[in-house]
C-alpha cells in the first residue's frame, strides 16, 4: 500500500509512526512485519474474490487520524442510555478504542476470571499475552487484521482459567464518541477459555451521536478442551461509521461455541468470521441477522475450516434489506480430506423490501472427505402478499403489518439472544430501524 495523501491508514504504516515503538521487542517486530505485509500486499481490489462486492474506495479516501491517547472524559451516567436495561454483567468499557476503568464494572470478578485492558496488561504482564497475541490470528493475510496488528494500542483481554464457570455475562462495550476529526480505533481483543471453562460474552459496538469514524477491531478467541462460550455481537455503530471486525477462532476438542451476530449500524460494515477446529468433536454455531438500508453496506464473510474429523458447524444468517441497502454474504465451509464425519449446514436467507436493495450471496462448500453431512441453502425473497393481506384484513395498517412480518422473519435469530433483556432491546432496535425504512 502506498502511503499516499488521502490514504486514511497511512499514519500506521510509517516506520516512524505513532505505533512504531511499544517498548516490547516481540511486539515491535510483529508490528513491523505487519506493516511490511500491508505495504507488500497493497490495497485489495474488486478483482480479489474476498473484496469482489465490497469497495474500499470510500473508506480509504477518509483522512483518519489515530485515536488520541486521552479519551473524552465521560461519566457513568453518559453510558446509561446505551446499556441493556436490567442486564447484570461484568462490564468492560472502551471509549474510542481505549479501555476506561472508570466506566467499567470489574469489581468482584469470580475466581479464575481475568478481565482487563490490553494496554495495561501489556505493561504489567506482557508474558500473559506474548503467545496469545497473533496466537490465533497468526500472520493474518487479511488487510485489516494486519493493519490492526500494525496499529493496535488497546483492547480487552478476557482469560478464564481451567474449569472456571462464570454465570454472569461478560459485557464488552465499545463506545465511539465523535471527535473534531475522523478517528480510527483499532482495538485488539484477546479471549481465551482454558479447558472446561464456561462463559457468556456480549460484545457491543455503540456510539454517542452520528459521527464519522472507523472501528477496525480484531478478536482472537481460543477455546480449550470442552470449553463452552456463548458469544453475542451487537453492532449498532453510528450511521456514518465504518465498522470492520475480524474474528479469529480456535476451537479445541469437544468445545462448544455459539456466536449470534447482529449487524444494524454503520454505513459500511465488514465482518470476517474465521473458524478453525483445533480438536475433534467441537461444535460451532454461527447465527446472524443484518439490516441494510439506504447508503448502507453490510458484508459478512465466514470461513469455517473443518480440518479435523467429527466436528459440526451451523451457519445461519438472515438479512433484511430496504431502500438502496446492500449486503454481501460470503460463506465458505472447507472440509479437509481427513475431516470425516463432519456435519456442516449453512443457510443464508434474505428479505428484500425494495427494488433498489441488493444482496450478493455466495455460500460455498468445499468438501474433500467422503463421509460427511453437509448442506447449504440460500433464499432471496419478498414479503408474501398473502401474509400482508391477512394482517391488514385484521385491521393492522400496511406499514405495521410489514414490520411485523419482518420481525417474524428475524425472530429465529433474535430468539437466540439471551438474556431476554438483550433480546428485547435488539428486537426494539430492529423494529425502530424498520419503522424508518422507506418501503415501496
Amino acid at each position: 500500500m502506498n502511503a499516499t495523501p488521502g490514504n486514511g491508514f497511512a499514519p500506521w504504516l510509517a516506520d516512524d509512526g505513532p505505533a512504531a515503538d511499544t517498548g516490547l521487542a516481540w511486539l515491535d517486530s510483529r508490528r513491523a512485519q505487519a506493516r511490511a505485509q500491508v505495504r507488500d500486499q497493497g490495497i485489495p481490489t474488486n478483482k480479489q474474490e474476498a473484496w469482489r462486492y465490497t469497495s474500499l474506495t470510500r473508506l480509504l479516501e477518509q483522512g483518519f487520524t489515530p485515536t488520541a491517547k486521552a479519551a473524552t472524559p465521560l461519566e457513568p451516567r453518559d453510558l446509561e442510555p446505551l446499556l441493556v436495561p436490567g442486564l447484570e454483567a461484568y462490564r468492560v468499557v472502551l471509549v474510542n478504542g481505549r479501555f476506561v476503568p472508570g466506566l467499567s464494572d470489574l469489581q468482584h470478578l469470580p475466581a479464575g476470571l481475568r478481565v482487563g485492558g490490553l494496554a495495561q496488561i501489556l505493561k504489567s504482564d506482557p508474558d500473559a499475552l506474548k503467545d496469545r497475541l497473533n496466537g490465533v490470528a497468526g500472520e493474518a493475510q487479511h488487510l485489516f487484521a494486519a493493519l490492526n496488528t500494525a496499529g493496535l494500542d488497546d483492547g480487552v483481554v478476557v482469560l478464564l482459567e481451567r474449569g472456571a464457570q462464570v454465570e454472569r455475562p461478560i459485557e464488552l462495550i465499545h463506545l465511539s464518541v465523535g471527535m473534531d476529526e475522523p478517528r480510527v480505533a483499532q482495538p485488539r481483543h484477546v479471549v481465551a477459555l482454558e479447558a472446561g471453562a464456561q462463559a457468556s460474552l456480549i460484545e457491543r459496538y455503540v456510539s454517542l451521536g452520528e459521527a464519522l469514524y472507523c472501528t477496525n477491531s480484531v478478536l482472537e478467541l481460543s477455546l480449550g478442551r470442552d470449553a463452552v462460550l456463548k458469544h453475542q455481537r451487537i453492532q449498532t455503530e453510528s450511521a456514518n461509521a465504518f465498522h470492520i471486525a475480524g474474528l479469529y477462532l480456535s476451537l479445541g476438542a469437544g468445545s462448544r461455541y455459539q456466536c449470534v451476530n447482529v449487524g444494524l449500524g454503520a454505513s459500511w460494515a465488514r465482518t470476517d468470521l474465521n473458524v478453525r477446529f483445533a480438536g475433534e468433536h467441537a461444535e460451532c454455531d454461527l447465527q446472524g441477522l443484518y439490516l441494510a438500508g439506504d447508503r448502507q453496506l453490510m458484508d459478512f464473510h465466514l470461513d469455517v475450516d473443518h480440518r479435523l474429523p467429527q466436528c459440526s458447524s451451523r451457519e445461519n444468517f438472515k438479512g433484511i434489506l430496504y431502500g438502496k441497502g446492500r449486503a454481501v454474504f460470503d460463506g465458505r465451509v472447507y472440509v479437509a480430506k481427513d475431516a470425516q464425519r463432519t456435519d456442516a449446514a449453512m443457510s443464508n436467507r434474505n428479505l428484500l423490501l425494495s427494488e433498489g436493495a441488493e444482496i450478493d450471496t455466495k455460500p460455498q462448500l468445499e468438501i474433500n472427505a467422503d463421509d460427511v453431512k453437509c448442506s447449504h441453502g440460500t433464499t432471496v425473497g419478498q414479503i408474501e402478499p398473502e401474509q400482508l393481506f391477512y394482517l391488514r384484513s385484521r385491521g393492522i395498517s400496511a406499514p405495521l403489518a410489514r414490520r411485523m412480518l419482518c420481525l417474524g422473519f428475524a425472530g429465529e435469530i433474535l430468539d437466540c439472544l439471551t438474556p431476554e433483556a438483550l433480546r428485547d432491546q435488539v428486537a426494539e432496535q430492529v423494529g425502530s430501524r424498520l419503522e424508518q425504512a422507506p418501503i415501496d
Binding site: R392, M404, L405
Partner: protein, 250 residues
C-alpha cells in the same frame, strides 16, 4: 348494514361476479351456497378488499360507507371480518402480539383507548373459555404448524376478540371432520348476537345443521339466482344445484 347492488368483478379478463345483489340486516345470518366456481369466494374476497380483483360495476355500502373505496384495514376498522378458507401461516409472529396489535388498531381507529397488556390478557382468557380453546394457542406463531382444524378455530378466536359487526366465513367448514366442525360451529353460535351479522359461504348444507341461517341464497354464475329461508338449504341437499339450472362451472 351491508348492501350489495349489481356488483360485477373480474379476475384478470374473466368476469366472475355478474351483477350480484345482497342485503344483510343487523343480527342476521345469511348462508351463501353454490357450486364450485360460482363466485362465492370471489364475493368474500372482494368484500374484504383482497388484491387481484377488479370491480367493474355496482356498489357495496357497509354501515353507510362505500366499502369498495376502503383499504382492507379500514374495512376491518368499520367492523368487517373475514374468516379465511385457507388461514395464512405467519412464522415468527406471535398470536398474542398479533391479536393485540389488531384489536388496538381497530380500537384506535374508533377513537377508543388501547388495551394494556393486562386487560388484553384477561380478554383473551375470557374468550378462550367461551370457545373452549386451549391457551397454548396464545404462545404459538399465527397458524404456523397448526392443523386444519386448529387454523379454523384460530379464525373463530380472532373473530371473538375483534368482535366484528359483520363476519364473513369463507368455507369455514371445508376440510373439517365432524368434531372440528362442531367446535367451530359452537364458536360461531356463541358469538351470535342481535348486533352481529354473519355471512356463511359454503358449498355444503352440512354446516347449516350446526349454524342455523335466517336466509339462504344460491349463487350461480356470478349472480344470486334464488333466495329463501333455511328450508332452501334442505332442498339443495335433496336435489343438488342442478334443478336451479346452476351446474358446476367447467
Amino acid at each position: 348494514m351491508l348492501s350489495v347492488k349489481g356488483l360485477k368483478a373480474n379476475v384478470g379478463d374473466k368476469e366472475i361476479l355478474k351483477g350480484l345483489d345482497l342485503e344483510i340486516g343487523r343480527g342476521e345470518v345469511h348462508a351463501i351456497m353454490g357450486p364450485n366456481g360460482s363466485g362465492k369466494s370471489t364475493l368474500a374476497h372482494v368484500l374484504s378488499g383482497r388484491e387481484g380483483y377488479t370491480v367493474t360495476g355496482g356498489s357495496v355500502t357497509f354501515e353507510g360507507q362505500d366499502l369498495l373505496d376502503l383499504e382492507p384495514e379500514a374495512r376491518a376498522h368499520l367492523g368487517l371480518f373475514l374468516a379465511f378458507q385457507y388461514p395464512v401461516e405467519l412464522p415468527g409472529v406471535n398470536n398474542t402480539y398479533f391479536l393485540k396489535a389488531a384489536l388496538n388498531a381497530i380500537r384506535k381507529a374508533r377513537g377508543e383507548p388501547e388495551l394494556d397488556a393486562v386487560s388484553f390478557l384477561r380478554l383473551m382468557k375470557e374468550k378462550l373459555k367461551v370457545l373452549h380453546l386451549d391457551d397454548s394457542l396464545l404462545k404459538r406463531p399465527v397458524n404456523f404448524g397448526f392443523s386444519g382444524g386448529e387454523k379454523k378455530r384460530n379464525e373463530i378466536f380472532q373473530m371473538a376478540i375483534l368482535e366484528p359487526k359483520l363476519a364473513i366465513l369463507d368455507e369455514t367448514d371445508s376440510g373439517l371432520d365432524i368434531d372440528a366442525l362442531r367446535i367451530v360451529a359452537d364458536g360461531v353460535n356463541a358469538l351470535r348476537s342481535p348486533e352481529r351479522s354473519v355471512i356463511l359461504v359454503t358449498h355444503y348444507q352440512r354446516l347449516l345443521d350446526y349454524i342455523q341461517p335466517d336466509y339462504v341464497h344460491v349463487l350461480a354464475k356470478g349472480q344470486i339466482i334464488r333466495s329463501g329461508g333455511k328450508e332452501l338449504a334442505l332442498e339443495l341437499e335433496d336435489k343438488g344445484y342442478g334443478w336451479l339450472g346452476a351446474e358446476e362451472a367447467a
